[in-house]
């Protein structure tokens, strides 16, 4: 499980605090008004921000000071998930070796991952030659080959239309199931939460509430969530 023990991070006059535990294999939606600290929360777990206080543990192993690539984590960011000057296969291959010197077997894994996300035969295409949905598929194929037990999604599909977004969330779920991975996704759309989440972390004014079952939360929402849904 992922443990955030008395974490505090101050940026100017904004303070994020979290003291919570996320069970292994859970699918967690991170929800809250804009500016509440959702992306900062994910950056903290990902290692792009270091907390001023507190500890971060994955299955008992200390992660607080680890660099992003040393953590057992795959990332999908809001944008720039693919290098524009590289082919789909190269973008996926980076998930196996960051210097792109792949063996035959590793190249086969790339091809297999691309076909698993429905992109067989598109290995040589560059991001500019792919649709928005296909670009998301390439990024998910990379998550597949990275084989990390924790996946962080920071609204990666927000630029897609509603139908395509639903499809991508479905695919992301498949990926996490296949890897038996824990998945955290930032979103501001309640429909996404319905599609995706077992648990929800509600963040408001920098305070991260412990994850709760989404069905229960809908019946008894925190004060801010009621206003947020409207």
């Amino acid at each position: 499980m992922l443990e955030l023990q008395s974490i505090r991070l101050t940026q100017g006059d904004f303070t994020l605090s979290a003291d919570l535990t996320i069970p292994v294999g859970a699918r967690v939606a991170v929800v809250g008004p804009s500016g509440a600290g959702k992306s900062t929360f994910l950056s903290l777990i990902g290692g792009f921000e270091a907390p001023d206080e507190g500890r971060l543990l994955w299955n008992g192993q200390e992660l607080t000071k680890a660099l992003p690539h040393e953590r057992p984590i795959s990332h999908l960011f809001q944008d720039n998930n693919l290098f524009a000057h590289m082919s789909a296969a190269q973008n996926v291959g980076l998930g196996i070796r960051p210097n792109l010197r792949l063996t035959k077997a590793e190249q086969a894994r790339v091809t297999e991952a691309l076909s698993a996300v429905g992109l067989s035969g598109m290995e040589a295409r560059r991001p500019a030659e792919l649709s928005g949905g296909q670009q998301s598929r390439v990024a998910l194929a990379r998550v597949l080959v990275q084989e990390k037990p924790l996946i962080l999604l920071d609204e990666p599909f927000s630029a897609l239309g509603p139908a395509m977004r639903g499809e991508m969330i479905g695919l992301a779920k498949e990926v996490s199931t296949r890897l038996s991975a824990t998945m955290l996704m930032v979103t501001h759309d309640i429909a996404d939460v319905d599609r995706f989440a077992d648990l929800v972390i509600w963040i408001e004014d920098g305070v991260c509430l412990p994850p709760r079952n989404w069905e229960e939360m809908k019946v008894d929402p925190p004060q801010g969530l009621k206003a947020y849904i409207g």
């Binding site: 921000e49 795959s74 290098f83 960051p98 210097n99």
Partner: protein, 514 residues
């Protein structure tokens, strides 16, 4: 606290910065040690100081003054060839000085086109030598620069303001007063300062069109003290004065927002409802034609007169061309490598970039003098003419290269830094797979720029070269001095072709596959 995984080794950047510092401050130090007291300066030398400042002020003033109506005409008129004209406005930057000098001579010289026309009218021919010749050449180089800078200013004015002006029924003079004048107030001082700075370090123009007590710049005085009198003390003293002038000009320009030379905002023509009447149309037509003629006539003259001369160039010209080509390629490689090392290290240590930019206030002749003094103590400096030329030109082009590479590099880090961090792309993988592919376009442009600038150099080479080992610009200058104008024109056409080809090939390499 946000943190970065990417840590690049600093030492290549530090070596590059040390090299630049040695060339800017180090040479100055070498010069200062040799300098005598100020009393060693004659009245003649003080006249050179005055001339340097006065001609630079006048050149900057005229360039900016003519650029205002020219840029306004380009900003509000769309016509066939507009894009070409704007591209052409960028050409003087990489045009070898000696080529422009020959072109201007062919148009404005004693036996040039303008004098011939004046002769038909029974008037005396004009001369291009002296004060006005120097200013004319400086305006030729800097009017296009000023026009491009101001055109960007016009491009940055939101189109809505002009729409609002038309709904308020503004006349052109109201538009000028309320919309254009505030923009000009912001951009003109910076443009003026940049051009003033460029003109204070003028050497080749003063060498050819100037000379004598009335038209000698400090740079030329350094050269003369050095070459004719071999008076190192005096050359050193003049070098210090030159640096003082440059530093004062830079300090003065820091008070203004110095416009950036970019490509943005040049292609947009704003719809102008106030400028549709006949008088404004004629006015704009006049300025567009006048600027085009002023720019194109000297280049056409070179092409026409050089075409006959290029067929029977002496072997000395071809070997000089070969030497220049090698020097230019070496200089481009040095400039790009040093700038790259600096720009990469500057991601971690901002100060390094400022050191790389510092040569903007340095004078190549001062660097040359300093290097000569240092080398003279060890060996025969003439043996080092070409490497020194390559190195000095590389350092002189670094400010422009850093300006091209810096934004691309920080853009790549901004867009892809997190992704690369999360994938563990560090060290050489990061440079090879993330940064270099994104830098290809500015690197091609930079290499082309550095090669062309070095190819056309007629500065530091004049201090060092042996008569039998001249570069192409120096060889052209000599042909000019011995009145073999047809050969000089032919060689100038060759130099023009080589410089443009170098720039074009490198630039194209960068843009291919981009």
């Amino acid at each position: 606290m946000a943190r970065r995984v990417f840590s690049i080794t600093l030492w290549p950047g530090i070596i590059a910065a040390a090299l630049v510092t040695a060339l800017t401050l180090g040479t100055l130090g070498a010069v200062a040690i040799r300098a005598e007291s100020f009393s060693a300066l004659s009245r003649f030398d003080w006249l050179a100081v005055r001339f340097t400042v006065v001609q630079a002020l006048l050149s900057a003033l005229l360039s900016v003054l003519f650029a205002i109506p020219a840029a306004r005409a380009l900003a509000r008129r769309n016509f066939a060839g507009r894009g070409l004209l704007i591209t052409l406005l960028g050409a003087p930057f990489i045009l070898p000085t000696i080529v422009a000098i020959l072109g201007l001579t062919a148009v404005f010289g004693r036996s040039g086109f303008v004098s011939i026309v004046l002769g038909w009218a029974g008037l005396e021919p004009i001369s291009i030598y002296g004060f006005h010749g120097v200013v004319l050449a400086h305006v030729f180089f800097n009017l296009p620069l000023a026009t491009r800078l101001l055109l960007q200013g016009w491009g940055a004015i939101p189109a809505e303001r002009f729409r609002l002006a038309s709904s308020l029924h503004f006349a052109p003079k109201d538009v000028f007063h309320y919309i254009e004048l505030p923009m000009l107030r912001e951009i003109v001082p910076g443009a003026f300062a940049v051009i003033f700075l460029i003109c204070t370090t003028s050497f080749a123009v003063a060498l050819t069109f100037g000379g004598g007590p009335k038209a000698t710049t400090v740079e030329l005085a350094i050269y003369e003290a050095f070459r004719y009198d071999f008076n190192l003390g005096k050359a050193s003293l003049l070098a210090l004065i030159q640096v003082l002038i440059c530093v004062l000009a830079v300090v003065a320009s820091l008070r203004f927002r110095v416009p950036q030379m970019g490509t943005g905002g040049l292609n947009r023509v704003v719809q102008r409802f106030d400028a549709r009447n006949m008088p404004t149309r004629m006015l704009d037509l006049f300025w567009i034609v006048a600027v085009s003629l002023f720019l194109l006539a000297p280049l056409l003259a070179i092409a026409l007169r050089g075409a006959t001369g290029i067929v029977d160039l002496p072997a000395s010209v071809w070997s000089a061309a070969f030497r220049s080509l090698i020097t230019a390629l070496g200089s481009a490689a040095l400039a790009v490598l040093m700038s790259l090392a600096l720009a990469l290290s500057a991601l971690r240590w901002r100060g390094l970039e400022i050191i790389g930019m510092s040569s903007i206030a340095a004078s190549p002749l001062v660097m040359g003098t300093g290097l000569y003094i240092v080398l003279f103590a060890i060996t025969d400096p003439a043996n080092w003419a070409l490497p020194i030329t390559a190195l000095v030109n590389a350092v002189m082009s670094m400010p422009f290269i850093l300006r091209a590479l810096g934004p691309a590099l920080s853009g790549a880090e901004r867009d892809y830094g997190r992704l690369a961090d999360s994938l563990g792309m560090t060290g050489l993988s990061r440079i090879r797979l993330v940064l270099l592919p994104r830098l290809r376009v500015p690197m091609g442009f930079s290499a082309g720029l550095a090669a062309a600038l070095s190819m056309g150099d007629l500065g530091v080479i004049t201090l060092f070269a042996r008569p039998e080992a001249a570069t192409l610009p120096l060889q052209i200058y000599r042909l000019m001095g011995s009145y073999r104008m047809d050969q000089a024109m032919g060689a100038a056409l060759l130099l023009l072709g080589l410089s443009l080809a170098l720039f074009y090939i490198f630039d194209l390499w960068g843009k291919r596959r981009a």
